[in-house]
């Protein structure tokens, strides 16, 4: 009876009110994938609006002795990979006849991407964001508002992505007949993890072609940071069937794969930071996009099967990598992929493709203060 399973993970752990909407969404998603017009419209927008394909840049000075290629999602319109997903889901919302979009955001990158597509398609938009994240990602709050969306502060609990996600789900519960919930990562109840993975798989598909073009061979490893895990699953999906190591890098204080236990949060069974009673613990990271105690169920499955490996990196190392990439390559990364960069410097492989999931402008105020 359960749907959307990745081994023992995934599923649909939601109040009954949402089940019919998830069924409708799963059907619409399946139909859209079969529909050439949908595919063509999305591919066209990815090229003409979002700026795909993004380049694959060889970073020659960052880690001498390795061939490190950066998949430049930071160059995508709105400055992060989030737009790939937001565009696809917005087209789906329109197919479903929904005029109002609900979303959560942590770092604000997903919030900006959603506000952007809502402006582009003339949809009403409410973005739930933790008050603490609003404080530390001020520029993104201003961008979301400038784009015409409403930012709803979440002022209880951790005041970060966990609570913002809960509030977005509660908003959707109350407005499910007229609203579309545009989730930002490969988390949540079925069909979201699968849908977000497919929409982000463009990262891996392009990266695979580009590295073959540049080096004439596949990389030794594909590396990405993991919060909810959407940029990582997008990159990994291009190399799943290859002899390529897949490495996910979590933040030390939010390492739900490295240190988690099975649990249920926000509609899916996955690996969580939780105590022995199943109470979800607070995550802590300087990178708001990684500051989440859960992770997409497919990552928990890839960890258990051994197909992907997951490690964690602390705030200080990430910050050092943030500064070093800026000085050695002239690229200011977001704090989230800076975690992946920090790990690569230690990783014993020669040829690496790393997903540079976003640019760091949003983090400048925080970094200067750190």
């Amino acid at each position: 009876m359960s749907v959307g399973l990745y081994g023992a993970y995934g599923g649909r752990y939601v109040p009954e009110t949402l089940v019919p909407a998830l069924d409708e969404l799963a059907q619409a998603w399946a139909a859209a994938q079969e529909d050439e017009a949908f595919r063509n419209e999305l591919d066209g927008l990815l090229v003409t609006y979002a700026g795909r394909p993004t380049p694959l840049t060889l970073a020659e000075r960052f880690v001498p002795g390795k061939r490190l290629y950066l998949k430049r999602e930071d160059l995508l319109h709105t400055g992060a990979h989030k737009l790939n997903n937001a565009l696809g889901q917005a087209l789906l919302a329109i197919r479903l006849g929904k005029q109002r979009i609900v979303a959560e955001t942590g770092a604000g990158q997903h919030g900006v991407a959603v506000a952007t597509v809502c402006a582009r398609f003339g949809l009403e938009c409410a973005v739930h964001m933790g008050a603490e994240d609003m404080r530390r990602q001020r520029p993104n709050v201003e961008r979301i508002r400038l784009l015409g969306a409403e930012v709803r502060p979440v002022e209880f609990g951790t005041q970060t992505l966990k609570e913002a996600t809960s509030e977005a789900v509660r908003d959707w519960l109350a407005t499910v007949e007229t609203s579309y919930y545009l989730i930002g990562s490969c988390v949540g109840p079925h069909p979201y993890p699968e849908m977000v993975r497919e929409l982000q798989s463009v990262i891996g598909t392009e990266a695979r072609e580009q590295i073959l073009e540049a080096e004439g061979r596949l990389p030794d490893a594909a590396v990405a940071c993991v919060g909810g895990g959407s940029n990582a699953i997008g990159l990994f999906s291009g190399f799943l069937d290859d002899d390529v190591r897949l490495v996910g890098v979590e933040a030390e204080g939010a390492a739900s794969l490295v240190r988690g236990r099975p649990g249920v949060l926000h509609g899916a069974r996955s690996s969580l930071l939780a105590d022995e009673d199943g109470q979800v613990l607070d995550a802590h990271s300087s990178a708001p996009g990684l500051d989440y105690p859960g992770v997409g169920p497919e990552h928990a499955f890839l960890r258990d099967t051994g197909r992907a490996e997951y490690v964690s990196v602390g705030d200080a190392e990430a910050l050092e990598a943030f500064r070093r990439l800026s000085r050695t390559e002239g690229i200011i990364p977001a704090l989230e992929p800076a975690h992946a960069l920090a790990h690569v410097a230690k990783h014993d492989v020669e040829l690496v493709v790393l997903c540079l999931s976003g640019r760091g402008d949003k983090d400048l105020a925080e970094v200067v203060g750190l």
Binding site: V14, E16, L173
Partner: protein, 238 residues
């Protein structure tokens, strides 16, 4: 007679409060086992859960609380919680230990019909549920169906949801099981109107608020609900 269910959060005062609710006319007590991220709950129950967790009401303490309530009152007791607690404790073990502590059944707010079918529990249905989902829930439920009156989270509302009548009428064509309506019922007027449609009502957020004023206030509040639903005249639904 119409059934009146009252929701209380597990805590030190809960046995005394449950006794007061039963004196006031409650004939079922739902006992909240608090969860850190209660998706289906509005601000009142969410805050009550935060306070209960801060006071140490983890699963073992909640089961003890359940047993203490069992010693004080004779009505059915139904723990209401979220799947994460059962994941951590073990689904079968949770069901067995809750039963041993005096639970009549369970409600798991984020475990819709179809997920974990082996776990006996009261299923919730909502205005958005299709007839197919109503049938599945009726087939799997434990004794009665919990009708969520509105699309949204728990919490008091100004008026009874206009969706309840349609949901009751659809559910009646599918099942003969008792139907209890909850979410958004707080005033005697709403209680009466809801019980004219359904076989019983559940009061949560408002009961939690009144319980903060103590057992006497809770008993008086519950007795006004009791009087309201006992005066209900069954509505004819087509």
């Amino acid at each position: 007679m119409k059934r009146l269910a009252v929701y209380l959060m597990c805590g030190a005062d809960t046995p005394e409060l449950a006794e007061a609710a039963v004196e006031g006319g409650a004939d079922l007590i739902e006992l909240g086992f608090p969860f850190s991220d209660p998706l289906a709950d509005g601000p009142v129950i969410r805050r009550a859960a935060e306070q209960a967790l801060a006071a140490g009401m983890r699963t073992a303490a909640c089961l003890k609380c359940l047993a203490s309530v069992r010693e004080r009152v004779g009505v059915p007791l139904v723990p209401m919680t979220y799947a994460s607690l059962l994941e951590a404790y073990g689904y079968e073990r949770f069901a067995a230990d809750a039963e041993a502590a005096g639970a009549a059944s369970l409600i798991v707010a984020d475990l819709p019909a179809g997920e974990r079918p082996e776990l006996r529990r009261v299923q919730l249905v909502a205005p958005t549920s299709t007839d197919e989902r109503l049938r599945l829930a009726a087939e799997h439920t434990d004794g009665w169906l919990y009708l969520v009156t509105l699309t949204g989270k728990t919490g008091a509302r100004d008026r009874l949801s206009p969706h309840l009548a349609g949901l009751v009428s659809r559910a009646r064509t599918i099942t003969n099981l008792p139907l209890c309506a909850g979410f958004g019922i707080s005033t005697p007027q709403q209680a009466r109107a809801a019980s004219e449609l359904a076989d019983g009502i559940v009061v949560g957020s408002r009961a939690i608020e009144v319980a903060e004023e103590g057992p006497r206030a809770l008993r008086d509040y519950v007795s006004t609900l009791r009087a309201a639903i006992d005066s209900a005249v069954p509505a004819i639904i087509d």
